[in-house]
Amino acid sequence: MAARSPLQLFWRRFRRDKVALAALTFIVLLILVAIFAPVIRNVLGLPDPNAGSTEALDDFGLPAGPSSEHPMGVDALGRDIMSRVLDGARVSLLVAFIGTGLSVIIGVTMGMIAGFYRGWVDTGIARTIDVLLAFPVLLLGVGLASACSGREGCLGGALQPGLTVVITIIVIGNWPYVARIIRGQVLSLREKEFVEASKSLGASNTRIIFREILPNLVAPIIVYATLFIPANILLEASLSFLGVGVQPPQASWGQMLSDASSIISSAWWFMLFPGLALLFTVLAFNLVGDGMQDALNPKSSRQR
């Protein structure tokens, strides 16, 4: 009988959770929708997400509701909401994936260095983590984004308002959490027998870190990344809602909700569809994250 790798075991356990599996399917579909949004728009005959038309507004300038032409209605500028919700999915997922990916890379590197080498390097990194964790991410984000909202941007123009700032905020806010978790894992892994065995065979530190320790971290990294993604989708949406995230005319769910807030009584569709898109996306990621956590840690207390 072939030995199963930790990842295979992980997948076998995850598969049993039907709800999580359904949520995973939803996410895969959503990613496809985001990638092929322009194609889908063409097939459905929807207008460009930024193309506004006054025809869809009534005499009082109020937007029209869902119709065969505009399945989710139009917004206050006469732009097709379905088209913008599709476009918003692209931004939302792009920011969350890139932000989470970068945070994981930085966090894992720092966590491994701190946990493996210990000593003053560890103290330095651990203290930095403590300081950053004491800083509220949303506040930090609001601060950084508004400080960079001027026409000149930040750092001599390197940090412009919009996607770059949002991703920067996500990375600053997330890597300390990743690093702290990884550091703890590495601290315990480095004392294990298989590391000692490798060391006694004359393996270099690099080899031990990448070939012995890192493979054991893959499963927890995937789980935590899955839990960070929904939080980051919400963070992007919140920043955009406050007007310091994704910049107009680029569509984003948070900003659409903000625009919709002044006319909810006359245009419920403007608030409902971006809101539901956000809710379902975050919910799906949370369900998958829960399922993964159970699969990684079968003794976990969620279901017994």
Binding site: D130, V142, G143, A147, G150, C154, L242, L257, M271, S301
Partner: protein, 323 residues
């Protein structure tokens, strides 16, 4: 214990210093634009800009500016009698404006905290005791939905449904109601919907958290011992289980209160509640940097303060922490 508290105090002072430094870097070093220009209005003359630069001390070196900023935050150190700088918008001092809005934010936070503890804890305990039952599954399912829903979406939905001016069922005071409220009763009524919305997400988090903790605790040996002694199940669960499982909630609660006291910016924005968060939001819409900087710093201060309080409380509750 005294040594522990002293160490935490030194750490808190250090944290506050680093946070002030970071905030200063974010607002005064990173931006490429000139704050004097931002302040001077449209088409300013070169002299006006130069005067403003001198007034704000922008002609000094960055380290000097940082020392001056510390003087603004701690007037007894700098002695320049300025509190958190001046708003670009209307030249008022920032700190008094924040403090003036403080009671509103405290009221909002306090009500929401009471509500979410009152909802979250019983649900968490029941779910843990009846793990796997339909009630547990339903409660945890709903909890996950509330955790996934952003407060502003939830806020807009309840306004659409229940706002007494624009809602489908005109039941409760909604958007901007707090601004018109006079008596304390009217203010509480105006905050009812925001309390519910804010409490929904937190109650869900606390219920899930407590449930997980309690399930783990109920597997402990001392619980088996308690059962073996012949104690009633109710006593085992509440006196032995919940008591131990609820301790980590103290930490969570402290940090969440700290976070909200710094301004529940999203909730206050949706419902137009004139607290610190709404003050920050208004400043964002007009790029009033000193105000944003002040509220960010103020918010960070509360979080650091609450984590200190939590650490000390925790050391009292659980003596193992005092290393």
């Amino acid at each position: 214990m005294a040594g522990y508290i002293a160490r935490r105090l030194v750490w808190m002072a250090f944290l506050l210093f680093v946070i002030t430094l970071l905030t200063f870097i974010i607002f005064s070093v990173l931006p490429a634009g000139d704050p004097a220009v931002a302040r001077a209005g449209r088409q300013p003359s070169a002299e006006l800009i130069a005067t403003i630069r001198e007034q704000l001390g922008l002609d000094k070196s960055k380290p000097t500016q940082f020392l001056n900023y510390i003087g603004d935050i701690l007037p007894f150190v700098g002695g320049n009698g300025v509190y958190f700088g001046f708003s670009y918008q209307n030249n008022t001092e920032v700190l008094p404006e924040i403090l003036e809005r403080m009671p509103v934010t405290i009221f909002l936070t306090a009500g929401a905290v009471i509500l979410w503890l009152a909802i979250g804890i019983p649900i968490g305990v029941l779910s843990a005791v009846k793990t796997g039952s339909w009630m547990d599954r339903l409660a945890m399912g709903i909890a996950l939905v509330f955790i996934s829903a952003p407060v502003y979406f939830l806020g807009l939905v309840v306004l659409y449904l229940f706002d007494n001016k624009i809602g489908i069922w005109k039941l409760l005071p909604g958007n901007s109601a707090y601004l018109e409220a006079g008596s304390i009763g009217e203010k509480a009524a105006a905050l009812f919907l925001p309390w519910c919305v804010l409490a929904a997400a937190f109650a869900a988090i606390y219920a899930r958290f407590l449930r997980g903790n309690l399930i783990d605790t109920l597997q402990e040996d001392y619980i088996r011992t308690a059962r073996a002694k012949g104690l009633s199940e109710r006593r085992v669960v509440f006196r032995h289980g919940v008591r131990a499982a609820i301790t980590p909630i103290v930490t969570l609660l402290g940090l969440d209160i700290g976070l909200l006291l710094g301004g529940a910016i999203l909730t206050e924005t949706v419902f137009n509640i004139p607290g610190i968060g709404r003050y920050a939001y208004n400043a964002i819409t007009v790029s009033d940097l000193p105000v944003i900087q002040g509220t960010v710093l103020f918010g960070a201060f509360f979080i650091v303060l609450m984590s200190l309080i939590v650490d000390i409380l925790y050391a009292f509750i659980d003596p193992r922490v005092r290393y």
